[in-house]
Subunit: 143 residues, 2 copies
Amino acid sequence: MSHGMAIGKASEATGVKVPTIRYYEQIGLLPPPPRTEGNRRTYDRKDADRLTFIRHSRELGFEIDQIRTLLSLQDRPGQSCGEADAIAKARLVEVKEKITSLKALEAELERMVEGCSHGRVESCQVIEILADHGKCKHHQHDT
Amino acid sequence: MSHGMAIGKASEATGVKVPTIRYYEQIGLLPPPPRTEGNRRTYDRKDADRLTFIRHSRELGFEIDQIRTLLSLQDRPGQSCGEADAIAKARLVEVKEKITSLKALEAELERMVEGCSHGRVESCQVIEILADHGKCKHHQHDT
DNA sequence: CCTACATCCTCCAGTGGCTATAGGAGCAAG
DNA sequence: CTTGCTCCTATAGCCACTGGAGGATGTAGG
């Protein structure tokens, strides 16, 4: 009765690509599902839910290892959610920092682009700011 | 007379790590410098400037191939800076988009963390929102 | 001159999180 | 029965580095 679906259907249902699903199985994030006679993976509702959970977590920028922790917490509902809370809070801090850093970056790029007089490279603000770090206002930014 | 420096000094002077300098040489971003009798790389002021240019560009999030283009533009000062301008503009758009996307992410993480009553996992907003994509307000976000 | 020790060299493997390709097997419809 | 789709495994590639092994060279002190 259990309406098992093939990997393609699971992919469609969850938005996780087929090779990615196999990859998640390989790294132990998704348990190896039962196979059909013809050796094909069959997934059920629970697997799909797990994949959705993973996808959403990845979209929020959690690392695989953090997702591993979050999943194991989900499996034991009676436990305190302090750890989940801590992971989410840490990610929130990261995101806030990245926003700050990207805003500095945005400001500098804007300065570069606005300063471009569309003339020759020799007087181009874009090139000049890149070349001369002293003309750069901010000090620490990453991707 | 040319005050050539060893790779370690070049690294110190530019903030680019030693293995990264060698890597840039390997991929053709930095020209192979002359060597001493003992086979050690010696860099001059121009090389250091180039490394600084590269580092700064990387900090602003430009890809290696874009930096390749920017460097080749710098080498030919008489040319129009339209291409440099276009690269910077494209990056600016990317950065703006990323900021928007991270703000959506920030909002959702905040909702998760605020909703956490510090009780059991079974009633934890953090886990619940991750599990149920329907509870998610936004639709498209990346790292 | 000899000994430590820092710095340098090359080569190769690993990181994260997938993504793509090759080469084949199974399955459903016409 | 054939066409064409989906599936399987295994392996390699992506980006931009980073680290380690194992050995050569340079330098400062005794």
